[in-house]
């Protein structure tokens, strides 16, 4: 088993939480893991990414080589495209469709849609709306994680356990809403793929 994942977004959108949950889920499975994070300057509203590598074999590089990434999981549509050089030929791009616009030259909606449609394998869902729909707008990042579950090579149960571990400190209600978000994301992605 080997999964190379790139998580993408804008500073402050919560990609490190996703990384921690996937990491926890992978450790439960007894897998090796390397996860390169971005700290510092670019956290101030700039583009951020995290390389996450899971394997039952030893992992050497902390960075995913270009052209070897199995899954790009992005919380922001334009950011998902920034990492295309990394995506393997049969890899999949999974992204939120809600743009985060903090720059003046952000591409037009139509252009963005076209660029995403050009990617061979892709799933695009509106995680912001889905999260609002289940009454927890803040769990948008977990909705996105849910959308990717099927492609991460780990059982759903591991992710549920990981959500409990990571959010446990914040109380039962927060855990519940995040598990709900996880399922909502998965269901939407499945419908979207049909």
């Amino acid at each position: 088993m080997k999964k190379d994942i790139i998580l993408a977004g804008v500073g402050g959108q919560g990609i490190l939480t996703i990384a921690t949950i996937i990491g926890t889920a992978a450790v439960e499975e007894g897998l090796n893991l390397k996860q390169a994070e971005v700290h510092g300057m670019s956290q101030r509203g700039g583009d951020v990414q995290s390389h996450l590598r899971l394997s039952d074999q030893p992992i050497f590089s902390d960075l995913v080589p270009e052209g070897k990434c199995d899954v790009i999981l992005s919380i922001e549509p334009m950011e998902s495209l920034r990492y295309l050089p990394y995506l393997a030929k049969d890899g999949i791009l999974i992204t939120n469709s809600t743009p985060f616009i903090n720059i003046t030259n952000y591409p037009e909606a139509e252009m963005l849609e076209k660029m995403l449609a050009n990617v061979k394998n892709h799933i695009v869902i509106n995680a912001d709306e889905i999260a609002k729909g289940i009454g927890s707008a803040r769990a948008m990042n977990i909705v996105m994680l849910g959308a990717a579950v099927k492609h991460l090579g780990l059982p759903m149960e591991n992710f549920e356990n990981a959500v409990k571990t990571v959010f446990g400190r914040k109380g039962e209600a927060v855990v519940e809403s995040n598990i709900k978000a996880l399922h909502a994301g998965r269901e939407n992605a499945e419908n979207n793929a049909k």
Binding site: V27, G40, E79
Partner: protein
């Protein structure tokens, strides 16, 4: 034992705690900050009451660590690469006095300048000071090197550098812990002259340090962190340093290289291993993160076709190494996928919405309108982003503390107005002496100290002179009536413009302190307050 998932920084921190360290002395700076932050909240560190508060700057940190080593206890100091420039005097001399209790000097380099104003390779400093340097290739090695390094430091009686780079500092992997060691007892140096650098003593110490070099090389040759991996194809040998070793292994299926690989994670260079690979192989590819220090040593000055690396273009001269660069250097097929679509635009970092610096810049820009551009000497922090549109409010950045002294030099040259814009954290790090220079010379400068009550850029650390800015300025000799505190808010704009204008008009040293807390640390406080409620 259960594996801990740790950043490279955290692995080194956990290693030092477990190896019986009694104190960390550090100044924040990406990518080194997480070493100390981990120790600050670690349960064992708290139980043992390991020293773990921030120092004023890197120089005071290194000196305090040497003091703790003098007292016989194990210690570590941490900083980013440019921090070692600030600490260089203490660092270089610490090699002369050596160590009593184990002393690790952890320096995190930032190749590709993800969060730094320059790119420099700290291994040069270790070589310069003639002390050993450890360069972990994995989180586990970072952990193990804390044990090895502290012990080695005590045996060889020298401080030991640990050199990290961004990708290891900020990458997480499983780490297996060892049994925790007890701390050392206080024990003064056996030789009362050890920490005395009068010239006559220094001359003897320098000879001793030179004589020690052969022993350091021998230890590198026997180091568990340096290894020689045999390979069938001797047309090429690969020398892979630190983290670059992983990138080399990555490009071969299952990590099995057809070429011999010499992995180097401890310096000075292991001479006999270098000889072996040089004799065995037709050509040598040196893969190292940072500047081509090993390559240059092997290549020498005269033309030499055998050694490949950054100098002959096998790798770019600057920036980080990665697996794809290694593939290219080895002539392997490029695996890269689709290009980034043209319409994907850059998203540079920016000041947070609601940041107090924004209001200060707006005031400054209004006042400077009548004087034109080129008058604002600034410094390093979140406010450096004020150079970018829409603010375009500052003109220079050099190094921490340089705003005040550059403004002074320009004022001495006759430039009017000469304005320094410096953060409160940076003022505490190295602004005080510059202000003292201005007072001494009665220079006509306006010093704006942006007081957001934190070290924002590096994630919101406390700093040593917090809450005492006015008293310090008065103490340094600034006249009370020319220390002006304002609140940077939109509604105060006109009033603040007036204050700035008055101080621009005053001929002498003025200090203006726009004071409002960083909204990130403020939000953080609200969150913690909520959790503890």
């Amino acid at each position: 034992m259960k594996k801990l998932l740790l950043l490279g920084d955290e692995a080194l921190a956990q290693g030092a705690i477990d190896a019986g360290m009694s104190g960390v002395f550090a100044y924040p700076g990406t990518p080194s900050t997480e070493i100390t932050e981990y120790i600050q909240v670690n349960e064992d560190a708290i139980k043992r009451d390991i020293h773990r508060t921030w120092a004023s700057n890197e120089k005071t940190a290194v000196e305090a660590a040497v003091g703790m080593s003098y007292a016989g206890k194990r210690t570590m100091c941490c900083m980013k690469h440019v921090g070692l420039n600030v600490a260089a005097d203490a660092f270089m001399n610490s090699a002369f006095v050596g160590a009593n209790g184990g002393n690790l000097i952890a320096v995190a380099d930032d190749p590709s300048m993800h969060s730094s104003q320059n790119e420099q390779d700290s291994r040069f400093y270790a070589k310069f000071a003639m002390i050993p340097c450890l360069e972990p290739s994995s989180q586990q090695e970072a952990y193990d090197m804390a044990f090895y390094g502290l012990d080695y430091s005590e045996r060889v009686k020298l401080p030991i550098m640990v050199r990290l780079t961004t990708r290891l500092s900020h990458s997480r992997a499983g780490v297996i812990r060892k049994e925790m060691l007890a701390e050392n007892e206080i024990k003064l140096p056996e030789d009362p002259d050890q920490f005395m650098l009068l010239p006559s003593y220094s001359r003897a110490k320098y000879k001793k340090l030179i004589k020690l070099q052969d022993e350091l090389i021998k230890t590198s040759e026997e180091s568990p962190f340096n290894s020689y991996e045999a390979g069938e194809d001797k047309s090429l040998g690969i020398i892979a340093c630190g983290l670059a070793y992983n990138y080399v292994k990555e490009v071969f299926d299952g990590g099995k290289s057809p070429y011999p690989i010499l992995k180097i994670c401890q310096y000075p260079l292991p001479k006999n291993m270098i000889h072996k690979i040089m004799n065995e192989c037709d050509r040598i590819l040196v893969v190292e993160e940072g500047q081509p220090i090993v390559e240059e040593m092997l290549k020498g000055y005269m033309p030499n076709d055998k050694i490949r690396g950054r100098l002959d273009g096998s790798f770019s001269r600057d920036g980080e190494i990665n697996p794809n660069k290694v593939m290219a250097a080895l002539g392997m097929a490029n695996t890269t996928g689709e290009a980034i679509p043209e319409n994907v635009v850059g998203r540079p970092p920016a000041l947070c919405v609601g940041c107090p610096h924004i209001d200060s810049f707006n005031v400054l820009n209004d006042v400077l309108e009548e004087h034109g551009k080129g008058h604002v000497f600034s410094d390093i922090g979140c406010y450096t982003l004020g150079y970018l549109p829409p603010y375009n409010a500052i003109d220079t950045v050099l190094d921490m503390g340089a705003s005040i002294t550059m403004a002074k030099g320009a004022a001495d040259a006759g430039l009017f107005p000469a304005v320094a814009v410096i953060g409160d954290g940076t003022f505490g790090h190295s602004g005080l002496t510059g202000l003292a220079d201005c007072i001494y010379d009665e220079t006509n400068v306006v010093v704006v100290i942006l007081d957001n009550a934190t070290t924002g850029m590096t994630g919101g650390q406390n700093y040593c002179i917090e809450g005492r800015l006015e008293d310090i300025c008065i103490g340094l000799g600034v006249e009370k009536e020319h220390i002006r505190v304002v609140t940077p808010l939109k509604k105060n704009h006109e009033e603040n413009v007036k204050v700035f204008r008055e101080e621009f008009d005053y001929e002498g040293v003025s200090v203006i302190i726009p004071r409002r807390e960083c909204i990130q640390t403020l939000a953080q406080k609200h969150r913690t307050a909520k959790v503890t409620k």
